[in-house]
Amino acid sequence: MSDASVEVRSPDPQASRQPEPGAPDNWRRFFTFSTDHKVIGIQYIVTAFIFFLFGGLLAMVMRGELITPEADLVDRTVYNGLFTMHGTIMLFMWTFPMLNGLANYLVPLMIGARDMAFPRLNAAAFWMVPVFGIILIASFFIPGGPSQSGWWAYPPVSLQNPTGNLINGQALWLLAVALSGVSSIMGAVNIVTTIFRMRAPGMGWFKMPAFCWTVLSAQMIQLIGLPALTAGAVMLLLDLTVGTSFFDPTRGGDPVLYQHFFWFYSHPAVYVIVLPIFGVFSEVFPVYARKPLFGYPVVVVSSLMITVLSLVVWVHHMFASGTPGWMRMLFMFTTMAISIPTGIKVFAWVATVWGGKLRLTTAMLFALGGLSTFLFAGITGIMLSSAPFDIHVNNTYFVVGHFHYVINGAVVMGFYAAIYHWFPKMTGRMYYEGLGKLHFALTFIGINMIFLPMHPLGLLGMPRRVASYDPEFAFLNVIASLGGFLLGVSTLPFILNMLSSWNQGEKAGNNPWRAIGLEWLVSSPPPHENFEEIPVVVSPPYGYGSNEPLVSNNPAGEALA
C-alpha cells in the first residue's frame, strides 16, 4: 500500500500541462464554466462582493429614510421591500457565496488536494448564484414590487399577496431562496466530501488547518439545517400559490410552526457564516504574531461543539412568539452554553497574539478589528439569550445592532482580513498597505458609528423594520445614518486597491508573509491542479518559532525547487 502511494506521488505529467482556457494569466477564464476550484473560488467571491455592494446600497437608502423620523424619502412599501431585499441579499447572496468562495479557494490548497471532490458539481453550484440573484433582483421590476415581508417571511404577512398575481415578489423570493438552498447543499456535499476524503498523506485530523475545521463544521450545519428551511419554504410556497393552509390561521394552519422551521435553520445559519471567519482569525493571528495558534486542538474541537449546540438553540428567536415557559428557560440555557466554545476561541486568539512579534498589516488589523467587534456582539448575545431581558429588546434595534456587529463587524472584517491575507496568493501581487489601512480605519469607524447607537435605540424601545419612528429616537438615528454612509464610502479604497493591485501591484513571491501552510509552498497564483507532487505532511499546522518542516517533499515540484 505504501509502495503504491509513493509511486503515485511522483510528478504527474498531466498536472504540469496548462490547458487553455485555464492558464493563470487569462482573465477570461473567470467568465467560463471552469471546474478549477481556484477559478470558482474567485468567481464566488467577486460575484458575492457585487451583491454585497448592491445590498449595501439598499441599506444606505434605508439609512437615508431613517435620518428623519417621518416616512418621507421613500414610500413605506418601498422601505419594507428594501429591508426585505437587504437582508435576503446579504445572507443568501453575499455571505454564503462569499464564504463558499473562500472555502473553495483555500480548502483544497490547505489540505493538499488538486481540486475539490466534484469539480463539475462545484461549477454548477456556483453558476446557480447569478441565476437566483437575478431572479431575486428581477422582483424589483414586476408589478407589485419585491417581497415586503422581511427576510423571515413570517406568515400570514408573507401570504397576503396584495397584488393577487401568481408571479409576485414573495413567490420569486421563495424561488430564489430555494435555489440558493440547492446550491448551498451542492456546495456542502462537495466540501464535506473533499475534507473527509482528499487530505494529503500525513494530514490527520489534528494536522488540518483550523480554517478547514471551521469550514467543515459550518458545512455540516448547512447539511442538517437547510432541509428544514426548504421544508418550511415549500409549505409556504404551496400556501401562497396553490391554496393549501399549512400556515394560514383562518383555515386551521399554524403560523408559529413556520417560525420553528425557519429558525431551526436560520439561527444555525449564523454559525455557518461566522465559523469560517473564526477559521480566518485562527489562520491570520499566528502569521502576524509569529506564534503558533494557542490551544489548537481545543480551538478546532470547539468548532464542532458549536455545530452541535447551534442545532438546539433556535427557539431563542421566539421568546416573545408565544412559546411556553419551559421552552423559554430550556433554550435560554442551551443558548448560553454556546458561549463556552466561543469563549474558548476568543481567549485562544488573545493568547496567540499575546507575547508575539506583531506585524500590523492590513490583514492583521482587520482580524483584530473583527475580533473586538465579535467580542462585543458576543456579550450582547449572552444578554439576548437571557429570556427576561430578551423579551424587552426582542424585535428592537438592540437585536439589529447585535447581529450587525456579528455580520458586518466580525464577518465582513474577517472577510477583508482573509482577502488581504491571501490576496498575494490569489493574484501573485501585493496590495497597497496604505490604501488597506485607510480602508480599515474607515470600516472600523463606520461600523461602530452605525451599529453602536442601535443598542441604546433598542433599549429605549425602537422596534426594528420601521419606516418611521418617534422623534425622541432622531439623534441616535442621525449618527447611525452618517456611520452607514461612511461605511459605504469605506468600500471605495478597497475596490481601488484590489483593482489596481491586481493589475500592477508589486510581484509577490510564493510566501510574502513567511506563513506556514501548504498553500504557501506553491507559486502565487498556484498552478492548475495546485501541486506538482502531492505534499506529505509531517508537522502540525502552526509551527511558528520551531524550525520543523511542514512537509517532507517538495510539492511545488522541480520548477520551483
Binding site: P249, R290, S321, V353, L371, T380, M383, L459, R465
Partner: protein, 325 residues
C-alpha cells in the same frame, strides 16, 4: 519532553512579566469600571413603569457589569499586545513557540461555564419573579379572579391588588389597536390602566402577527391570529407611555402605535365612566388616513400594499399628538 519544559518556562516568563500585584490592581480597576457601567445601565432604559421593569433593569445592569468586565479584560490585553509587543522593523524572528497551556485552557473553559451558570440562574429567578403569563402555561386554566404570579409579593412597589379587574380585550389589526373594557362598555384606542394593579389582557389579532410592546413596562408578547393569548403585568408608575407593534405586520407597521395611560384607580374609574358616555366615533388612524390620502391624491403608492382596515369606531380616541414619556 525537553522542549515541553522549555515551553512551559517560556510561558511562565510571559505570565510573570507583570507582577501579581500589578495584575490585581488592574483587575480591581476593571471591577470598579464594570460596577460603574452596571449602574449606568439603568439610565439607558425607558422609565420604570411596571413591576417587571424593575426586575429586568436589575438583570440588565448585572449583565452589563459582567459584560464590561470581560470586554475590558480582553480588549485591554489585546491593546497591550498591539501597543507594546510589535515586531521591530527588521526583526524577522518568530515569537515563543507556545502551543498551549493546559492550566490556562482549563481556567478559561471553567470561567465561562461558571459565568453562564451564574447569569442563567439570575435570569431564571428574574423570570420566575416576573412570571409573565405564558400563553400556553397551565395557569391559563386557573379560575378567573386568582391573580397569576403570586411570587411577586417581594417585588417593591407591587402591593397586593385590592381588587381584580376583568381582562381587557386587546384587538390588533392592520393597522390599529383597539382596547375593549367589556364590563364597562368602553372601547378605546388608548389603553388606560390603574396603577399598582395586576393588569390582565386577552390579546387577539384579526389578520397577521402583531406584537404588544410597551418599552416602559419591558413586556412584549406576539399576538398570533386565531389564538386568544392571556397576558398580564403590573404598572407601578403613573404617566403616559408608548405602546408599539413589535412584530412586523406589513406596510404601516411602523405607524401602528398608540399610548398607554397609567393613572390612579380613582382617575381610571372616572375615565371609564366618562368614556362610556361618549358616542362611538371613528378614531384617528395614521395607516387608514395616509392610505386614503394617497389614493385620493393619486400619489404613487410605491408597491402593492394590503388595504388598511378602516379606523376603529370607539368611545374614546387618542391623538398621535399626545405627549408621552
Amino acid at each position: 519532553m525537553n522542549t515541553e519544559n522549555q515551553r512551559t518556562s517560556d510561558l511562565n516568563r510571559v505570565l510573570n512579566r507583570r507582577s501579581i500585584l500589578g495584575l490585581t490592581a488592574l483587575a480591581a480597576a476593571n471591577l470598579a469600571i464594570s460596577y460603574w457601567m452596571g449602574q449606568q445601565a439603568y439610565s439607558w432604559m425607558p422609565p420604570q413603569a411596571s413591576a417587571e421593569s424593575v426586575l429586568v433593569d436589575k438583570l440588565f445592569s448585572f449583565m452589563t457589569a459582567i459584560g464590561t468586565f470581560i470586554f475590558i479584560g480582553v480588549i485591554g490585553t489585546l491593546l497591550y499586545s498591539v501597543v507594546f509587543q510589535r515586531a521591530a522593523k527588521y526583526d524577522s524572528t518568530d515569537g515563543p513557540p507556545i502551543e498551549g497551556n493546559l492550566w490556562l485552557e482549563v481556567v478559561w473553559t471553567a470561567v465561562p461555564i461558571m459565568l453562564i451558570i451564574w447569569i442563567g440562574t439570575v435570569s431564571y429567578s428574574t423570570y420566575d419573579q416576573m412570571s409573565l403569563l405564558s400563553p400556553f402555561a397551565p395557569q391559563e386554566m386557573k379560575t378567573p379572579g386568582t391573580v397569576p404570579g403570586d411570587k411577586k409579593e417581594s417585588v417593591p412597589g407591587d402591593p397586593e391588588p385590592t381588587q381584580t379587574f376583568a381582562p381587557i380585550e386587546v384587538h390588533s389589526r392592520q393597522w390599529a389597536w383597539e382596547f375593549r373594557y367589556p364590563e364597562d362598555g368602553v372601547s378605546s384606542t388608548e389603553l388606560h390602566l390603574p396603577v399598582n394593579q395586576r393588569a390582565r389582557f386577552k390579546l387577539t389579532s384579526e389578520d397577521v402577527l402583531h406584537g404588544f410592546f410597551v418599552p416602559a413596562f419591558r413586556v412584549k408578547q406576539d399576538i398570533v391570529p386565531g389564538r386568544e393569548i392571556d397576558f398580564s403585568f403590573t404598572p407601578i408608575r403613573e404617566g403616559r407611555y408608548r405602546l408599539r407593534d413589535s412584530e412586523y405586520s406589513g406596510t404601516y407597521f411602523a405607524a401602528n402605535q398608540t399610548n398607554v395611560v397609567v393613572e390612579s384607580e380613582e382617575e381610571y374609574r372616572q375615565w371609564l365612566l366618562a368614556a362610556a358616555q361618549n358616542p362611538p366615533t371613528a378614531a384617528e388612524n395614521v395607516a387608514f388616513e395616509s392610505f386614503s390620502r394617497a389614493v385620493e391624491g393619486s400619489i404613487s403608492l410605491g408597491w402593492a400594499t394590503v388595504r388598511p382596515a378602516p379606523a376603529p369606531i370607539v368611545n374614546y380616541t387618542s391623538s398621535e399628538k399626545d405627549s408621552y414619556e
